[in-house]
């Protein structure tokens, strides 16, 4: 594990982001801005109902983990232990950010937010639609304070549109947009969908793309921007060729499992290997590769059947083909088979689970993908990195703080003191009043 030290200037240096987002879909975008050097200030509040759900969602750091240790102290199932700072997923989602507490239900809290917005470049939120307007903190209000401000909000369906009041989480948006339907084996099997909230992640990547386009323009011309981001709309963007094909053929979209209906490729799927729930993905793209595959399998009689001689014919008999290939791979060790098939020029890869990816993937290790970062309560833990190397302005998930996620309110003194210019006495008074 290694962290590439930032050297020289950062792509987003001098950019201040007021981050009111929570859960996953908003914090993903600001994580990427922090990675490129923006000063991201996460604004939270202490009341249980206002606290980011993933601050108290497992997995937690082991109970024995402390600030001076971390993963090196060993892992175990941990507990929150009354703290909002021990959740591992939160730590992975929010590295490189500053953390403050600010009560937006208090008029003084809203005033303080306005102070921060005045010099900020970007403000991000993913509250229910209309919440910021209720506080008098909507885009139209904030741009009066700061005409350059870039305002992005992310909601399930979007703030504009017929369903603007509908509630939606990532899975809802996936079902609504068609992504859930597209995943899985054909009818009558139900859709397999997604094993997580894909649409809590991709909109974050899009958010970063749009925000960086807006930041560049703001730097060049001073222009501001309002972005009403929709998770469901993002789902449409990710629905591939399905919607366009339907307009041409008039046929309903169908699922096709792991097969490849768009190219003459077969076999194409996940095949069982030895061991519990062990699988390998194999994509055969030509007849020559098919012949290399059956040679690796010991040239069994069934494979020489004329039905399997050409791609078109293999596709016609794909159920039988898959069943027979599965019977052959089932005795093989998955990584050994992957290496042997790759040596024959075949695209084959183990269906890797978390232990495979974290402990054993030599590529991720060599590229320094996981990055160790310190956290002020639970110590040093690996977080997932950025998937590209930039030669002059490297990605650095530890961002401006050089830390993993902030503790709740960890940077109140720095932000309210140094940035908002409050005195220690003023801060103490605001804390007493339940504002910060």
């Amino acid at each position: 594990m290694s962290s590439e030290e930032p050297k020289g200037r950062r792509a987003l240096e001098g950019v201040r982001v007021i981050d009111l987002t929570w859960l996953q879909v908003g914090p993903q975008a600001t994580r990427l801005l922090a990675t490129f050097g923006a000063q991201v200030i996460r604004v939270e509040w202490r009341e249980r109902k206002a606290i980011d759900f993933i601050r108290y969602t497992p997995p937690f750091a082991p109970d024995h983990a402390n600030a001076d240790g971390g993963r090196s102290q060993g892992i175990a199932r941990g507990h929150a232990n009354g703290s909002f700072n021990r959740a591992g997923y939160f730590n992975n989602t929010n590295p490189g950010k500053y953390g403050i507490t600010l009560n937006l239900n208090h008029p003084k809290g809203r005033d303080l937010l306005r102070v921060l917005v005045r010099d900020a470049n970007v403000i991000c939120e993913n509250f229910s639609p209309g919440q910021m307007d209720k506080w008098g903190l909507g885009y139209e209000e904030l741009r009066k304070l700061n005409p350059r401000i870039i305002y992005i909000q992310t909601t399930g369906v979007g703030k504009a549109g017929t369903y603007k009041d509908y509630v939606s989480y990532g899975p809802t948006a996936q079902a609504f947009s068609g992504l859930t339907f597209l995943s899985g084996l054909p009818e009558p099997r139900p859709p397999a969908g997604w094993g997580y909230s894909y649409l809590d992640h991709s909109p974050g990547y899009f958010g970063a793309i749009m925000l960086m386009a807006a930041i560049r323009r703001q730097r060049l011309s001073g222009a501001g921007c309002y972005i009403d981001m929709s998770q469901s709309e993002t789902g449409l963007m990710l629905s591939g060729t399905s919607i366009i094909e339907h307009q041409i053929t008039g046929k309903p979209t169908e699922r096709y499992g792991n097969r490849m209906p768009f190219l003459d490729w077969a076999p194409h799927g996940a095949y069982r290997c030895s061991g519990e729930d062990a699988w390998i993905a194999i994509s055969i793209q030509s007849d020559a590769q098919w012949r290399a595959l059956i040679e690796e399998m010991g040239s069994p009689d069934w494979a020489l059947d004329a039905r399997f001689a050409t791609a078109a014919s293999r596709k016609q008999h794909e159920d039988d083909l898959d069943a027979k290939l599965n019977a052959c791979t089932a005795a093989r060790e998955r990584y050994d088979l992957m290496n042997r098939l790759q040596a024959r020029g075949i695209a084959a890869g183990v269906v890797q689970k978390a232990p495979d990816r974290f402990d054993n993937d030599p590529q991720l290790k060599a590229r320094g993908y996981y990055v160790d970062l310190p956290h002020s309560e639970i110590g040093t833990w690996p977080v997932e990195g950025f998937p590209a190397k930039l030669s002059r302005s490297p990605a650095n998930v530890g961002g401006a703080t050089g830390r993993a996620a902030p503790k709740l309110g960890e940077d109140n003194d720095f932000v309210f003191g140094k940035i908002a210019g409050l005195s220690i006495a003023e801060m103490a008074a605001l804390a007493d009043e339940g504002v910060i």
Binding site: T162, S183, G184, S202, E245, H246
Partner: protein, 407 residues
């Protein structure tokens, strides 16, 4: 630009040369939707992605690939063999005027082309050279063969998607790679992020740079709790039918509506949602014990039994109404439910029409318009991404591009 700062033209003035295959199509199309000029330099036989179906024609035809259409909106195409020694001076004049060159494809191909770009970057130090390869340009896996399926497998998404195990925890179905090229989506989105970071850096410093995107790592970033569950607690999450992978099997299941549509109808552990379920059940005349002391007792004593009871009731409710009616009723009670729609069902949905989510693209060769999903965000009036031109025909802009290079 309107008062809300529409981004559709925000990258106007930037020129991207795109050389490669399906790994790069989407990344540059995203920046083309924000106003960048993207010029595809294609070999005489056309880019590899022109061979990917589905096709609008009965037989495969490089001008009829719907895949190519979808991922190459707004771009120009010039036929120029970048590997031909005779074309190097033309390439150099194009490179001198470009802001970004995007090289995508298998490692060997990209690696072979890189030295030439290192040299061109010396001549144009503002140039950003971005590569997208299956595993990145270094590391022991760099030359492995990959397809979308293989990347989804090795990157970890497949292991968390699929169907429930049987009662003994054994899986009789394989892990599933969700359909429609998501490893290329992920690689493309991150490449766009990285290119935007490089462009921002160049505005500050005047310096270009090299950007090396790994699709393998891009897929790896996107498995949510899978890695933290293992890193912090040593737990491996299990894939489950149409719901989140988790360290153990959860108790929700999919049910079909009265008109035969699977429904995403899940409940969060919030009292508000339990009350909403009870109200919906009352509306359709289902007899139940939700909200009674009897049920409260059951929840206390046997959480699993209570969950099963709730799920049974949920199933009866879903079966009693058509999907769309249940959708709107549930939403009016604050429940985040939705039918599991086919993607095309959204073409006529008033919500997406109101948001202008689909870009209307004219295809003169078909003598018709097609509607493409065209944005992820609105400025309140118009989409932030702006797509107006169909994918280019092979070499459609060769003359224009070469003339501009010489000028």
């Amino acid at each position: 630009m309107n008062t809300r700062g529409n981004l559709g033209n925000s990258l106007a003035g930037l020129t991207i040369l795109e050389i490669g295959d399906q790994l790069g199509d989407y990344a540059s199309m995203l920046l083309a939707g924000l106003g960048a000029e993207v010029i595809k330099l294609e070999p005489r036989e056309g880019s590899a992605s022109r061979q990917i179906g589905p096709f609008a024609s009965t037989e495969p035809d490089p001008e009829q690939s719907i895949f190519f259409w979808r991922y190459n909106l707004n771009k120009k195409s010039a036929v120029l063999d970048v590997d031909d020694a005779n074309e190097q001076s033309t390439l150099a004049t194009l490179a001198a005027k470009a802001d970004i060159v995007l090289l995508s494809g298998e490692f060997e191909t990209v690696e072979r082309r890189l030295p030439q770009w290192r040299q061109l970057a010396e001549e144009n130090p503002r140039l950003i050279v971005c590569t997208i390869t299956p595993f990145g340009l270094d590391g022991p896996y760099r030359a492995l063969k990959a397809t979308d399926l293989v990347q989804m497998a090795m990157g970890g998404i497949m292991a968390v998607c699929g169907y429930d195990p049987d009662r003994d925890g054994q899986y009789d179905t394989p892990p599933i790679a969700p359909a429609m090229w998501h490893s290329y989506h992920l690689g493309g989105e991150y490449a766009a992020v990285a290119m935007m970071a490089a462009i921002n850096f160049r505005e500050l410093t005047g310096e270009g740079q090299f950007v090396d995107v790994s699709v393998h790592e891009a897929v790896n970033t996107c498995t949510e709790v899978a890695i933290p569950s293992y890193v912090y607690a040593g737990q491996t999450v299990m894939r489950q039918t149409a719901r989140h992978a988790a360290p153990s099997v959860t108790h929700m299941r999919l049910s079909k509506s009265a008109d035969g549509v699977f429904m995403l109808a899940s409940l969060s552990p919030f009292e508000r949602e339990m009350r909403a379920l009870a109200e919906l059940a009352d509306q359709v005349g289902l007899v139940h014990v939700l909200g009674t002391p009897e049920f409260a007792e059951l929840e206390k004593e046997d959480r699993v039994a209570a969950a099963i009871y709730r799920n049974d009731l949920l199933e009866q409710l879903v079966e009693s109404l058509p999907a769309d009616e249940l959708f709107h009723r549930a939403q009016s009670h604050g429940l985040a439910w939705s039918p599991i729609r086919r993607p095309e069902a959204n073409l006529d949905d008033p919500h997406f029409t109101a948001r202008k989510s689909f870009a209307t693209i004219h295809h003169p060769e078909l003598n018709r318009n097609l509607r493409y999903p065209g944005t992820v965000a609105s400025d309140g009036e118009n989409p932030h991404f702006s797509y107006t031109r169909r994918a280019p025909r092979l070499g459609e802009h060769t003359e224009e591009v070469l003339r501009h290079a010489q000028s």
